[in-house]
Amino acid sequence: MMNLTKLISSASSSSAASRSKTLISSSSSLLNRSFSTDDSKVLTIETSIPFTAHNCEPPSRTVETTEKELLGFFKEMALMRRMEIAADSLYKSKLIRGFCHLYDGQEAVAVGMEAAITKKDCIITAYRDHCIFLGRGGTLVEAFSELMGRRDGCSKGKGGSMHFYKKDSGFYGGHGIVGAQVPLGIGLSFAQKYNKDEAVTFAMYGDGAANQGQLFEALNIAALWDLPAILVCENNHYGMGTAEWRAAKSPAYYKRGDYVPGLKVDGMDAFAVKQACKFAKEHVLQKGPIILEMDTYRYHGHSMSDPGSTYRTRDEISGVRQERDPVERIRKLVLAHDLATEKELKDMEKEIRKEVDDAIAQAKESPMPEPSELFTNVYVKGFGVESYGADRKEVRAVLP
């Protein structure tokens, strides 16, 4: 604890700290304890494995970072991990309804990608969207409120787990139908190019969606018109309950674009992801689309109704946890660079836990949306329509 106080600096205005500010809801005690790290001091870190490239020169394995960024990665990923674990128990206690897909195991993709790009760049993803939303600057309270269908949610409680959005930072959200968001992403990138935004779109999809026809339609359009689109295949190796090799003739998704270059990235290594996204952004602004295949893993099942153990072994899951866990990788790097002690990181995790618990408590206080919200955001409002719940004793909502 003594060491810890030494590491606490006065309020910092560094970029990493401001990122964690948006990441973590206000009134957070974490806010006040950014570690005193040297922002200007450049660290070089070697990625776990080399990149594998298709039709392009791969970027260097050596990634530049700062102490602040390294520690920031740990915080953000630990926070994401904790949020998903908490969502798991909220779902089991039936506070979260609908379908819920958790991101734990894949955190390095969300964090590494965010580190390489700006909020002018767009991200669009499928239904495993909680952590992408946090990465884009969403707050825990917004996330938990949305999960529980409350008014303070990022989609006003009308979307739920699969439908997080954040317009002010270019997050075009969570989409429910497998693969459907990728053509949309291509449309976003066309607008960026037309408007000369010098920004790019990351269209994310899973290895399951990689077999959808519309993906290839989108890819062709993007390549034909040299659009600044980065197709990010988060390959967690299972499309729902079907292993990739059972569903894909070629599980080398980075090569699936044929005429479109690709890069295979260790998606469990946040720095490899960062390096790849930085490289991809430069590439697509000049040369048109690229595919990034992030080799990653989800610890949970496909959704909450999938125990995740019928189509893969428990040994496989624990093996990935031991060998490749993205949070543990960063923890080791932090320790190796002597930025914090093991105890300090544990304390940080404790605070994160509290942070998450506080956000949940706050989200639970948020009321359900007004019943009349049922009829907002549809083209034709149900004027004069009355509706009521299953039990007529409930308040009857007379709609606008």
Binding site: R97, G98, F99, G149, G157, K158, G159, G160, S161, M162, H163, G176, I177, V178, G179, A180, G208, A209, N211, Q212, G213, Q214, G239, M240, G241, T242, R246, A247, A248, S305, D306, T310, Y311, M368, P369, P371, E373, L374, F375, V378, V380, G382, V385, S387, Y388, G389, A390, D391, R392, E394, A397
Partner: protein, 396 residues
């Protein structure tokens, strides 16, 4: 679970294997709804709806070596456990997982069926059927017609779970049946179910085409109905879309005969007799309507409840006969009211029974909004909404 299914399967094999050939038309079906009373005398185990699906699929695969079952996650049992044990029993060449691509799954099924096979495709949720919409509407439904009956995909049956489950949200709750009812060439069938003491029957909706070229839409209401209708759909010589009420997969339990039997498609069933108003529905909605009928009876209103079972082609005669008796009609479905199949029923009955109607046809349906996450109770055509509409219609 898997083991018991296999044991059950063995019993069927002994009791009913190769007893029957394949029907090529509904008229050859072994059992009809009118003979269902005899069915009830037969021994049957009390099983839930997904087990009834499993039994039907088992029989379909057992009795036809050219039957294939495929879809996302099907080989390890499917997300609703409907195909549990079938891959073990029939091998991975006949029961298999597909990649996650609905358009491909249905297109593949059409080709497979065009070679004279029984292709049983599963679309994991009815909400995911839209990527396959083109294949269903433009390929499956018109294959026979536009090839001058040289080719057809009559062996194709698309099974898909539809409807609300209480907390499914936008993409796991929709009821898209009416989209397919405008497609000559398809049959749409619904499964309904009995819940506890309330016996709710299977609704099938049937799409009718002038020739034999239609896709049919079928929806059952209970485990027993599910089995009989699914087998009939699989063996029907037209492409059938078979909607299963996912809310009832575990909830609905009923005695289901163990043998191989079928219920006729396009034949509605009066599941409750009454004299003041006719109620028409299908699938899981029947359970809700039945409750409304019971409550209405306490207030002295006698309701006749009809399970339509097949939406395309649908059994107009049964509904018409009932409305001629009662003079009033209420249709209820979960899908949004505008453009729902209730509108078609309403218009047809208006044409046929105009002078006999004593009140406008009532529709108690889902609201014209996307299927909501937290407002599901407001969206749904609940018992009280139906009861209110019954009273309003009777007191018109």
């Amino acid at each position: 679970m898997a083991k018991s299914v296999k044991e059950l399967g063995k019993q069927w094999m002994i009791s009913s294997f190769s007893k029957r050939g394949f029907s090529t038309a509904c008229s050859t079906l072994k059992s009809s709804s009118s003979s269902s009373s005899t069915m009830e005398k037969q021994s049957g185990k009390s099983v839930n709806l997904f087990t009834a699906v499993n039994q039907a699929l088992y029989i379909a695969l057992e009795t036809d070596p050219n039957a294939y079952l495929f879809g996302e996650d099907v080989s390890f049992g499917g997300v609703f456990r409907c195909s549990t044990g079938l891959a073990d029993q029939f091998g991975s060449k006949r029961v298999f997982n597909t990649p996650l691509c609905e358009q491909g799954i249905v297109g593949f099924g059409i080709g497979l069926a065009a070679m004279g096979n029984r292709a049983i495709a599963e679309v994991q949720f009815a909400d995911y059927i839209f990527p396959a919409f083109d294949q269903i509407v433009n390929e499956a439904a018109k294959f026979r017609y536009r090839s001058g009956n040289q080719f057809n995909c009559g062996g194709l049956t698309i099974r898909t779970p539809y409807g609300a489950v209480g907390h499914g949200g936008h993409y796991h709750s929709q009821s898209p049946e009416s989209f397919f009812c405008q497609v000559p060439g398809l049959k749409v069938t619904f499964h309904s179910a009995s819940i506890g003491a309330l016996h709710v029957e299977v609704f099938i909706l049937y799409l009718q085409s002038p020739a034999q070229a239609k896709v049919k839409v079928v929806i059952p209401r209970s485990p027993k109905q599910e089995k009989g209708l699914l087998l009939a759909s699989i063996r029907d010589p037209n492409p059938v879309i078979f909607f299963e009420p996912k809310w009832l997969y575990r909830l609905a339990v009923e005695e289901v005969p163990e043998d191989d039997y079928m219920f006729p498609l396009s034949e509605a069933e009066v599941i409750r007799h009454g004299s003041d108003i006719t109620l028409v529905g299908w699938g899981s909605q029947l359970a809700v309507m039945e409750q409304a009928c019971v409550d209405a009876e306490k207030e002295g209103i006698s309701c006749e409840l009809i399970d339509l079972k097949t939406l395309i082609p649908w059994d107009k005669e049964t509904v018409e006969a009932s409305v001629r008796k009662t003079g009033r009609l209420l249709v209820s479905h979960e899908a949004p009211v505008t453009g729902g199949f209730g509108a078609e029923i309403s218009a047809s009955i208006m044409e046929r029974c105009f002078s006999r109607l004593e009140a406008p046809v009532a529709r108690t349906c889902g609201l014209d909004t996307p299927f909501p996450l937290v407002f599901e109770p407001f969206f749904m055509p609940t018992k009280n909404k139906i009861l209110d509409a019954i009273k309003a219609t009777v007191n018109y």
